[in-house]
């Protein structure tokens, strides 16, 4: 079994780490505290070809897969620059349009998005449905061969900096379908279209990207806006949700590694009694445990990405990777905070600033409990609880 990255994969990881040194953690933290999108950095990566990493070459992309995307994000997050926009835009939206969009959609949207001229977000979660995506109430009502989209979305990342959203809606309401997975359709929605409105949610998360509530009021959509088949959205939904889990796992591992590395450096130099505090096993072992958990989660993340790219069933590994990585990331930041003592809570050291985002990863995009349900029921074959 060969665990080595190819030279190209290594260079993609290195690009992420270098980008995160040019636009470094301090820059990220300033943007994160101000909730300001790092557009210059985004543009730089786009011009170097990385926004379109998963887009086919004929549409201006790199023609690579989820594994390379996860490596890029790990490279960035390992050096203190985790960007959620990379999950929702280049991974989910562009990945999905590349895989399931029509030729017309691909030529219309992908080249500009690869060049960083347009940005995409992704909208599925709703206030009344929460984790139960079957119950979403955004309905795109058929109207001749067109649709009228109405409904609400919540906790949608980065809407204000985007031009388009990939929106999951029902073309048949959930109480009128035979199977609850029927009637889903995915649309590309222009955020400037009439009837689209959004407001920032006042979140207590330190991140450059803001979260939004979206409102759709009879938004006019046509067949040209449908990704894939009308009513068949559920069958391709996991081509969105598994990559989301994998890239969120990559970010979690990265945040954890960054925090643990900072702590190892700090504890190796900080002297309080005789010699550096890093020599105390009470300081050293929690960091060593977190490091081990992080590397295990990272391996699982890469496996899930590889399975996805190779057309294998990636659900179990993607879910386990997301669970393991969120827990390991939290453990890493927690151990780092404790090793830093009071300094960990200062703006100068910025360790506590990482906590809100890494803790979010236990809850979003799918919470820990639902992942454990999935593993219990789908992987271990145990009885369903709901």
């Amino acid at each position: 079994m060969d665990f080595a990255l190819t030279p190209e994969q290594q260079m993609i990881y290195d690009y992420g780490s270098k980008l995160a040194q040019s636009y470094d953690h301090k820059h990220w933290l300033e943007k994160a505290r101000a909730h300001e999108f790092p557009r210059e950095m985004w543009q730089r990566a786009a011009e170097d070809g990385f926004c379109g990493l998963m887009v086919p070459e004929e549409y201006g992309g790199g023609g690579l897969g989820l594994l390379e995307m996860a490596l890029l994000l790990e490279g960035m997050a390992d050096h203190g620059v985790p960007l959620l926009m990379y999950v929702v835009g280049p991974t989910m939206a562009l990945g999905h349009i590349s895989k399931h969009g029509s030729d017309q959609q691909k030529s219309r949207y992908l080249p500009d998005a690869c060049a960083g001229k347009t940005l995409f977000c992704f909208a599925i979660t709703e206030p009344t449905a929460g984790s139960n995506s079957m119950r979403i109430n955004s309905v795109a009502k058929p109207d001749g061969n067109r649709f009228k989209l109405s409904g609400n979305k919540v906790f949608i990342t980065g809407v204000d900096v985007c031009d388009y959203a990939v929106v999951v809606a029902r073309t048949t309401p959930h109480d009128q379908v035979q199977r609850k997975t029927d009637g889903f359709t995915l649309f590309i929605v222009d955020l400037k279209a009439k009837g689209v409105d959004y407001h920032a949610i006042d979140m207590s998360i330190v991140a450059p990207e803001e979260q939004f509530t979206m409102f759709f009021d009879e938004v006019d959509l046509g067949p040209e806006d449908v990704i894939g088949e009308v009513g068949d959205g559920f069958n391709t939904l996991f081509d969105l949700l598994n990559p989301e889990r994998v890239t969120v796992a990559a970010l979690s591992c990265g945040i954890g590694r960054f925090a643990v590395n900072k702590a190892a450096e700090y504890a190796s130099e900080r002297v309080v009694f005789d010699g550096p505090i890093g020599a105390y096993q009470g300081v050293q072992h929690p960091l060593a445990v977190a490091k081990t958990q992080l590397e295990m989660a990272s391996l699982m993340t890469r496996q899930a990405a590889w399975q996805y790219d190779n057309g294998e069933q990636a659900g179990p590994a993607a879910n386990m990777a997301k669970y393991a990585a969120a827990e390991a990331g939290i453990m890493g930041v927690e151990a780092s905070l404790q090793a830093h003592g009071g300094n960990g809570f200062t703006h100068e050291y910025g360790i506590y600033d990482l906590y809100s985002m890494v803790r979010l990863m236990r809850t979003a995009p799918i919470n820990r409990e639902l992942i454990l349900n999935y593993i219990g029921e789908r992987v271990l074959g145990m009885p369903r609880s709901y």
């Binding site: 270098k18 170097d48 379109g52």
Partner: protein, 249 residues
């Protein structure tokens, strides 16, 4: 015109190095290795010459273990056209490297050879100068600006007390200083293209270079730990400490 650019695989500049317990050298186990930053500047300069239309081909050379191929790949991903790996397990001294480069120059006939002014691992700062002497070529060391025109080059050098500009005939040897340029990152399309670019492998023996060591390393030690500083009350206190404690004035 053809440019030969040397790229050395060194310990990454972010790594805090450790001396081996037996004091025979620096511990390279599990240490991230990268291209010498001054060589990255060299590759970038060659790329700018090519983009300006004055250079047709850029050949990246690395000398050392098999993994130096990764360093060449990085240069190819930045935009160099092909690579040459001179493979040896032996630890090389600047004179060996200069002789190997000279042998490659005889084969490749480049117009410009660019090297970093020094490598950040051993900080020798000798190879470029030795190579120019072996070739009997003009040398522009510590370059902060290079302009090519009419078979000549104007090279601005960072010297003590200011800048010096020399006009050099080609072919020439240039060594790069920090302010020459800011190297680009390899873009994704170029990373993918690098895969198809050829890397030739040679050995010092094939090039007829004797790499027997001329130097013996006796011992490698950490530099003495810096003592903590003190805060002085005022100028009088400073002068007093400099005169009576440090004994420097």
């Amino acid at each position: 015109m053809k440019v030969l650019v040397a790229v050395k695989r060194v310990v990454d500049y972010n790594v805090k190095i450790r001396v081996k317990a037996d004091q025979t050298g620096v511990d390279l186990n599990n240490v991230k290795m990268s291209m010498n930053p001054f060589d990255e500047i060299g590759v970038e300069e060659a790329l700018r010459m090519k983009e300006a239309g004055s250079v047709e081909e850029i050949v990246a050379v690395s000398i050392g273990v098999q993994q130096c191929q990764e360093t060449i790949r990085t240069a190819l991903a930045m935009g160099a056209d092909r690579g040459i790996l001179v493979k040896t397990e032996q630890e090389l001294e600047p004179l060996h490297v200069a002789k190997i480069m000279a042998a490659l120059i005889a084969e490749e006939q480049p117009d410009v050879v660019i090297l970093g002014k020094q490598a950040i691992d051993d900080d020798c700062n000798q190879t470029g100068q030795m190579l120019a002497a072996l070739m009997d070529w003009p040398q522009g060391t510590f370059a902060s600006k290079i302009e090519l025109a009419d078979g000549k080059a104007n090279v601005t050098r960072e010297v003590d007390g200011g800048l010096q500009t020399l006009t050099l005939d080609l072919p020439m040897v240039v060594t790069t200083d920090l302010r020459l340029n800011e190297p680009r990152y390899a873009s994704l399309p170029n990373i993918m293209k690098a895969k198809k670019k050829p890397i030739d492998e040679k050995t010092p023996e094939e090039l007829g270079v004797d790499t027997a060591p001329r130097l013996t390393t006796l011992k490698v030690e950490d530099p003495p730990a810096r003592q903590a500083g003190v805060k002085v009350e005022d100028v009088a206190d400073l002068v007093d400490k400099l005169r009576n404690e440090a004994g420097v004035i």
